[in-house]
Symmetry: C2
Subunit: 480 residues, 2 copies
Amino acid sequence: MQVVSKDFKYQNLEHYLLDMINSGRFNVGEKLPSLRDVSQKMHVSLATVTHAYMELEKKGVIEARPRSGYYVRQKVAPLPIPDLPEHDVQIGKLSRTQLIQTVLGIVGEKGMLPFGCICADSSVLPHKALARIMNSVLRTHGQDVMSYESIQGNPLLRKQISWRMQEDDCRVTGNDVLITFGAMEALYLALRSTTRPGDNVVIQSPTYFCFLQLLENLGLRAIEVASCPTNGVSPRDLDRAFSRFDVAACILAPNFNNPDGALIPDATKQEIVTLCESNNIPLIEDDVSGDLYCDLEGRPRPLKSFDKIGNIIHCSSFSKTISPGFRVGYMIPGKKMDKALEIKATTNVSCSTPTQLAIGKYLEEGLYDRHLRKLRRRISDQRTHMQQYLPEYFPQGTRATQPKGGGVLWVELPKQIDGTKLFFDVKKHNISIAPGAIFSTSESFTNFIRLSCVGFWNDEMRAGLETIGRLAKEQLGSEY
Amino acid sequence: MQVVSKDFKYQNLEHYLLDMINSGRFNVGEKLPSLRDVSQKMHVSLATVTHAYMELEKKGVIEARPRSGYYVRQKVAPLPIPDLPEHDVQIGKLSRTQLIQTVLGIVGEKGMLPFGCICADSSVLPHKALARIMNSVLRTHGQDVMSYESIQGNPLLRKQISWRMQEDDCRVTGNDVLITFGAMEALYLALRSTTRPGDNVVIQSPTYFCFLQLLENLGLRAIEVASCPTNGVSPRDLDRAFSRFDVAACILAPNFNNPDGALIPDATKQEIVTLCESNNIPLIEDDVSGDLYCDLEGRPRPLKSFDKIGNIIHCSSFSKTISPGFRVGYMIPGKKMDKALEIKATTNVSCSTPTQLAIGKYLEEGLYDRHLRKLRRRISDQRTHMQQYLPEYFPQGTRATQPKGGGVLWVELPKQIDGTKLFFDVKKHNISIAPGAIFSTSESFTNFIRLSCVGFWNDEMRAGLETIGRLAKEQLGSEY
């Protein structure tokens, strides 16, 4: 996919002006600067400014007054945040495997507009740096690259990971890290290390659908606890689940839960860690989106940073930030290290040597933070664009999250709309989205969809968003 | 590790002469050709021939008669093949995890003489070709290498694998292949697709110890059926196990079972395939050593080539032949494809993109067969050397397998010797071996050890073998 640069530029200006208006820098009724002023100040052509003003006029945000100039007509407020569905702690039967497999298949197809894909667009990923490093690794480490790495993983990579975690207030060394094939294997090893078939596992609702599949495959039962887009999971709900059920483990994504983007505040994190400790329930942390914070001063803390006794199994990866295809993830299993190593050895022995070394060297060269800054900016740009177009394109009554990080928006459509039907409808237009139904074992989210921000935006994406909205409206029939 | 070429050369000549004598080309009492004749005929220096004759004289194989020349004094027969231990079909409790982990740790240590390691020595592996190909893949496929591969695996690699299997009489296409992280993951997916915790699984005895660990981790029970070094598994024994127990699956390594090198004859393979079909028991085939045949006209047939209904789950990898560190294996799951894909997706999503592409291109370039010929020759050379030195270095009463392929010798020591003690004793001399006790849940093999032939031989290895023998003799005390 290629960004048409001219297109992209004018959209940035429009976006900038919208921000000015929505943030109150220009008030309703106020006169906007002249086309020539904007052109000179923003270093863009007069044609570009004219185009941007015309687009804003079309949207009804500004209006031209003859022989006077452009004036602010109205603000475009972002959509309200979704309501928390009526939700009690509940136990559910898992059986949405087929829909999930269909979704995964369609999201993976080439040529789809990637509103369903949660991996950063490959144009944003550091493929040139990684190719250079891999080439140097193969030349320098020659025969070693051919051999098994230790079960626990490459020591250089483990050390680099531990240093990053120390910056996030986690007391870990390279010896505490176990390298896995992506965060998915980390989750798998965490559950295999803490549960037996038939056990109950507490998860957020909504939660990443692959976790539901993993639970089903391991013969585990999901106990869903409400996740609130603004505050995450409440310790009170967790406590209730712990008292009502015999719980073997608890999986939480404290930083930008997929799909609702929920961020658990630090004070609540501390409470939850203490609660799990005192109930002797292993707490499995999925932190794959923690590095993708956007409207925050710094990275939100992992639950692991509150862990004093090794009760937390921290899981993460570089799949969302460096490369999904390299399959390099990791876990800090705490007390479960020996068990996790034993299971890892009999599942696939150890991780690939060349990919571990390449990521390890990439971190060692200090390239990661600069790359993350670029990636966060690209994702944030796309999200802002989407938030601005959603009110225009989507049916009245639509709500959407305003996450402070992660790569997804969680969209609540009017009750009558079936998100799964919408998924199949937009697929015919070569657009992928994720239907809300797959993110829970309950029926709470059938009118939800998840839209991804993979760091890529152009007019085709804008038109795609318009199509999704139009098809959603069509479900409402003639009344709209 | 470096092969000292002079050393290596003379040992080859000695080896050649020994072969001539043992095969009856020179009979006991017969005069050997003069040093000068051998030097000219074999294109080696006179010093090399002198050295070889002196070594053979030291071993008592030939004798110098003054002013006449060298005469054959006696043949050195290889050791007899191990007795089949008294062995009934039995059900066992798995609990040798700790010893296995110790063995894996020591085998993986750098600087150990690799009699315990079953991966080809890295000097034999095609690291230069792979580095070149990987570099080209990263340049040509740029961004694609960063993305997820499909769950089933890279299509080019799957097609290449299916073509190789077609040559071995298997009716498969690329669509029947599922790429895995090594054969270990293939076995794991095969068992997860066919069993539930508590189920019974038939395995060979002895069997690869990682299979025992995998069974234990999955909560499965091992039913051991005797493996005979010369004929493999008998259908009668299998039938008996199937009638006595409720069997969920059966794992067999028909071609050069690790550790006893057993090769099941083709007629027996057909019988076994039919037996499993008629009992409706999925047959999991481990074929990682099939390409490493040595004293055979061609590759032995996989069980899969007898499969007409998809009941056989064929598992293999390139870890023993191209690179263990790349972690590229595969399975032909037959009827269990959908189930295996579902479990793969929730265990680690999919295999690494760059390593799959590199191995796929390596096969496409037609480099594999030439490499296999070289690898087989190197392994065979080492095995012949070991078989010739074993009678000299090891205690009387020792027996050893004479496998027609694979990379290991299975050595039965006199009953009084404890293979596990020997493992710890030789470790102090920086030598790794595998103790027999870990290859079964029974106590049948405590006086056995497994010695690997990884395609590497020099005087250090010879001295290492001598040390193992000496430490074994020491266990027998003063009577020897």
